[in-house]
């Protein structure tokens, strides 16, 4: 605990000593370990978001392994005889029946299944927020362009694996989603028909796709994710973290906590808390209750009984499909079908621009210098405004994916809602861009912090009607010069 108590008992020290020497004699790890224990990690909270994603992945793997012991990835039709009475006697695939068994018959199965699903939702959300952190602070700039692209690939893989995962259950809702994905593949010019037939194993509906999605979901994509995540972390390790500007921080140093013991303790605590929240959600917050949707039947759509919204990370594509006007290209005996544009072009352009962004920004700003100190969002008004507008664009698409739900809530005709979204999809991002850029420029000009008192004290009105300057509220912060003069102690790097 405190330094006085840190003295170890001799026998414990001996045990650690013996164990370490055993390993070091054989693997020669002491030089690396000594450097690693002293590695510095920034203290700012925003650097923990990526870790939340990583810890969700750990929970996904643990709960996922448990689920594979009970899930049957087969389309063979069986008659359900399990504990969920409303579906007894109904014909369904083994995949769906085994999902019901996990939910109702396997002890602890439902908690594991719901934790798995929640972990997937939070996993992708944390990746997106982490991406925003990196984008808005300019952390993707030289020398970190490659890791930006590795991170984006992880996002693509995570979204894909989420889709494969919920499609396995063969319920009415997910089957509808698979049908939509098949139709988007079909709409791809020239190769679309072959693409759809080879990937889904023939014309939809068929019995091939579940075994394919299963091996993709439990082996191929997770292996890619774990491999790329390792690369992502190795690159961060090699390049060291970025850091915000601040007292004692320069382009040439890194200020924060040492890996051992401070950062390791913090990070372990974060893992436990992420796992705890996912356990609470998995136990108390119902997610994807497939027994209410029923088994997939090609003649039914899920929306007949409930909304037909995909998981949130696919919602923007569904929203785009909904508000796309009824246009398509027909010429020379060929068709470029409508879903190609919102379903393939839009996501393609989205990720294409994201992949190229570090290089595009370099081209526009002419800034080719390496950067280890981060921008505050206000320091780059154009980038920040563009990012905010982009988020607004996808936010509107996500809302548009619920146009039927919104029509129900506000008792407005779906046509009106859809037409409104067709306007908002352009108007809102434009407005967000202009406002954000203005706010950033204002903040940068005055160098004010929105939540802190301005430097130099406050002007207050006295009882007699005059004005006088007083010191800012005593929040324990010393005035600026002291902070500027402060230097963090150097790490003992050996």
């Amino acid at each position: 605990m405190s330094r006085g108590q840190k003295r170890r008992k001799p026998e414990e020290a001996n045990r650690v000593d013996r164990a370490f020497r055993f390993v070091d004699d054989r693997l020669g790890i002491s030089h690396f370990t000594r450097k690693a224990l002293n590695k510095i990690f920034p203290d700012h909270w925003s650097f923990m978001i990526g870790e939340i994603a990583m810890y969700c992945l750990v929970i996904l793997i643990v709960t996922g392994i448990y689920l594979t012991f009970f899930f049957v990835p087969a389309t063979k039709e069986v008659v359900y005889q399990g504990r969920y009475a409303p579906l007894r006697g109904v014909e369904m695939s083994q995949a769906y029946a085994s999902t019901l068994d996990i939910s109702f018959n396997v002890r602890a199965g439902l908690v594991m299944r719901q934790m798995h699903h929640w972990a997937a939702l939070v996993f992708i959300a944390a990746i997106v927020v982490h991406l925003c952190r990196v984008f808005f602070t300019g952390a993707f700039r030289r020398p970190r362009e490659l890791n930006w692209m590795v991170g984006l690939t992880l996002l693509v893989l995570a979204i894909g694996n989420g889709f494969f995962g919920y499609s396995l259950l063969d319920d009415l809702l997910s089957g509808t989603g698979v049908r939509v994905a098949y139709s988007i593949a079909l709409a791809v010019p020239v190769a679309g028909t072959w693409l759809a037939f080879l990937f889904f194993g023939g014309e939809f509906p068929n019995t091939e796709f579940i075994t394919r999605f299963y091996i993709l979901h439990v082996l191929i994509v997770p292996a890619l994710i774990v491999g790329l995540l390792s690369a992502h972390l190795a690159i961060v390790w090699r390049q060291k973290h970025t850091q915000f500007k601040g007292p004692g921080r320069t382009e040439g140093n890194i200020v924060g906590s040492r890996l051992w013991p401070q950062y390791a303790a913090k990070s372990a605590a974060l893992f436990l808390l992420v796992a705890a929240v996912l356990a609470l959600l998995g136990g108390l917050a119902q997610i994807n209750p497939v027994w209410l949707y029923g088994p997939y039947k090609a003649t039914q759509a899920a929306a007949a009984t409930s909304g037909s919204q995909p998981d949130w990370y696919m919602g923007w594509v569904d929203g785009a499909l909904r508000i796309m006007p009824a246009w398509e290209i027909r010429a020379f005996g060929h068709t470029v079908a409508n879903p190609f544009f919102p379903g393939a072009v839009m996501p393609g352009v989205t990720f294409g621009v994201l992949y190229l962004w570090p290089f595009l920004e370099r081209r526009f700003t002419g800034d080719r210098e390496p950067h280890n100190l981060l921008d505050r969002p206000r320091d780059a008004p154009f980038r920040t405004a563009l990012g905010a507008a982009t988020l607004a664009f996808y936010g509107i698409l996500l809302l548009a994916g619920g146009n039927d739900i919104l029509a129900g809530i506000f008792r407005i005709a779906p046509e009106v809602i859809t037409n409104t979204f067709r306007v908002l999809i352009f108007a809102v991002p434009l407005a967000v861009f202009v406002v954000t850029r203005g706010v950033c420029r204002g903040l940068a000009r005055d160098d004010l912090h929105p939540t802190r008192p301005p430097p130099g004290g406050l002007v207050v009105r006295t009882a007699t009607g005059g004005f006088e300057t007083v010191d800012g509220p005593d929040d324990g912060r010393p005035s600026e010069p002291v902070v500027d003069a402060w230097k963090p102690p150097p790490v003992d790097s050996g």
Binding site: M1, R3, Q5, V111, Q114, T176, R179, S183, L186, A187, V188, T193, A196, L198, F199, G201, F204, P205, E208, K240, G246, I254, V255, S257, R258, P261, Q262, A269, L272, L273, A275, A276, L280, L281, G283, A298, T299, A301, A303, A304, S308, L321, R322, I323, A326, E328, G333, T335, V336, A337, N338, P339, G343, D404, E415, G476, R477, P478, P490, S493
Partner: protein
């Protein structure tokens, strides 16, 4: 405790006895919850209790760890970053080594081309097994199981007569003997006499007001399940494409660009509804080879 070397002098550390008490409470709570979790499992399991107890067990450990981390936090330290790029000499050595070999390969033009050709051919040959993943599309997207004279049956297999439906009624029908054929599902609607405005050439397709359209949305293939009798519209529940039943199922709203293909109907000698032929155009979503 030594003062923390922070820029602002903030020190999150608590007096040691207070911190130790808090950590102890958190760890004890965690232990009790974990034992409770095991108990719930043995007693038969209960999802909500399992989730809540797991939450307490994990967050007890987590809260204890947070406190502990705070106590050992002795403030920020600074480390040197160091250069990423290697020394000039290292860089040159690597480039020379590799560049020489590449140049050598360039000089042996015939061999390097043959090597490229062999690797390329092997790569190409390795692509062929992908073909086994699915059947050739052929004309499968342009055909369904409907044939001239094939009877309409409902999902139970019962045949349908022109008066099976009352006016305004609707059911999903299939070709007799192919109830499972996903691409052949058809929505049959009975319209009041004289309401239908048939396209040219389709005048005889709807005997006694029985009109049949493919149930597969031309947008992305959802079953067009909602029939609104007052407006004579078929609505797709997925993306709200809306089709005018009286006007050849022309799309009236939403992302669908084409009407639902109409199945030509007739009545056979025994008084059952039958198809005159297959659909006259491909059903379902658009694709490249669809004209």
């Amino acid at each position: 405790m030594e003062p923390r070397p922070t820029p602002t002098g903030d020190d999150p550390r608590l007096p040691a006895p207070v911190a130790e008490r808090r950590i102890a409470v958190a760890f004890v709570a965690s232990t009790l919850a974990a034992l409770g979790l095991a108990g719930v499992y043995v007693a038969g399991g209960q999802p909500q209790a399992e989730g809540a107890l797991l939450f307490v067990a994990l967050s007890g450990l987590g809260v204890g760890a947070v406190q502990w981390a705070r106590q050992i936090d002795d403030g920020p330290t600074a480390g040197e970053r160091g250069e990423l790029a290697g020394s000039e000499a290292d860089q040159e050595a690597v480039v020379e080594e590799v560049a020489d070999d590449v140049a050598d390969l360039g000089r042996r033009r015939l061999l390097s081309r043959l090597l490229l050709g062999a690797v390329g051919a092997l790569g190409l040959a390795a692509l062929f097994p992908i073909r086994s993943l699915g059947p050739s599309p052929g004309h499968s997207l342009e055909r369904t199981a409907w044939r001239p004279g094939r009877r309409l049956v409902d999902s139970e297999g019962h045949r349908v007569r022109p008066d099976t439906l009352t006016v305004g009624g609707t059911i999903t029908v299939f070709p007799e003997g192919a109830v499972q054929a996903g691409d052949s599902q058809v929505v049959l609607i009975r319209l009041a006499a004289g309401r239908n405005r048939p396209r040219r050439g389709r005048e005889t397709w709807a005997p006694d007001g029985n009109i049949a359209y493919s149930k597969i949305c031309t947008h992305v293939g959802c079953p067009v399940g909602l029939y609104q009798e007052d407006t004579h519209e078929l609505v797709c529940p997925c993306h709200q494409s809306t089709f005018d039943v009286l006007d050849g199922a022309r799309p009236r709203f939403g992302p669908a660009t084409r009407g639902l293909p109409q199945l030509p109907l007739a009545v056979d000698g025994e008084g059952f509804l039958v198809a005159q032929s297959d659909f006259t155009e491909p059903v379902g979503p658009g694709f490249w080879n669809r004209s």
